[in-house]
Amino acid sequence: MESTGARPGSRGVTDRPAASSDNRGDTSAAAFARYVEPEIAVLYRVASTLVRQPADAQDLVQDTLVRAYRAIDSFDGTHPRAWLLTILRNTHRNRVRTRLPRLLTVTEHQDSDVLDRGGDRRSAEDVVVDAQFEAVVVEALAALPTMHRVVVQLVDVDGLSYAEAAEALGIPRGTVMSRLHRARARIRTRLVAAGLVPRRSLS
């Protein structure tokens, strides 16, 4: 007498190891949309600071996006901007190494873009004084040593935090601060020389 176990053959036998890997592409795309896409404008601004030709800046961001996309699965979700800035910096470095050696050179036309902002609801006098002020600031900025100028651009023009600027340049935050400090003091000195800084209380 044997007891035949008589099991129905098609029964689930073992616990299945969790999810299939089919949705990987999906999650990557979702993570990319969540972490990377909101930062594209910042990346482009920073890229425009690092390379002066708009076409190069676009290329740099595209390369950065491709690399970010490839690495998105291993990104832990914290500080996406810092993560992206690091990728941008490395991408930039590699590109500079392999391509044109004109890293961080001054071009006047880009700086003058900063001036192209209309003053709408102000008196003509204000507009002129502001324009003079801006002109001197822009001039002073262009005259700064490159490493100082870039820090000012990243923080003031591109709106990065110190930590983010440090990330973008691969330098310590303290260095960002000291360069910024010195750079702004120089800009101010120029303004004083041009007679555009109020020496006495205005109010």
Binding site: G25, S28, A29, F32, A33, V36, E37, I40, A41, L43, Y44, R45, S48, P54, A57, Q58, V61, Q62, L65, V66, Y69, R70, D113, V114, D116, R117, D130, F133, E134, V137, V138, L141, V152, Q153, V155, D156, V157, G159, S161, Y162, M177, L180, H181, R184, I187, R188, L191, V197, P198, R199, S201
Partner: protein
Amino acid sequence: MSLTEMARCLRTSRALQRYLDGETDDLTAARVAAHLEECRRCGLQAQTYRAIKQALRGGNVDELALRRLRAFSGSLTASDPNADDDRW
């Protein structure tokens, strides 16, 4: 100017840039703000640095370039990640 006042000016000028950039802790920010109210010299200096920041802020962003980059980004997520090499 008393020594205490000078010390305050010095401390303020050390923290001023960070203060203007919103990079100080709250206590420091409050201290700097209070001093800038009281001390005309430091107040004016702060005003100048603020104006410098403002003059530089938000240079024009090329909207067209941004749109292109967004489209490019969209094409990345829409496609096979391994096929990216040929896309551009």
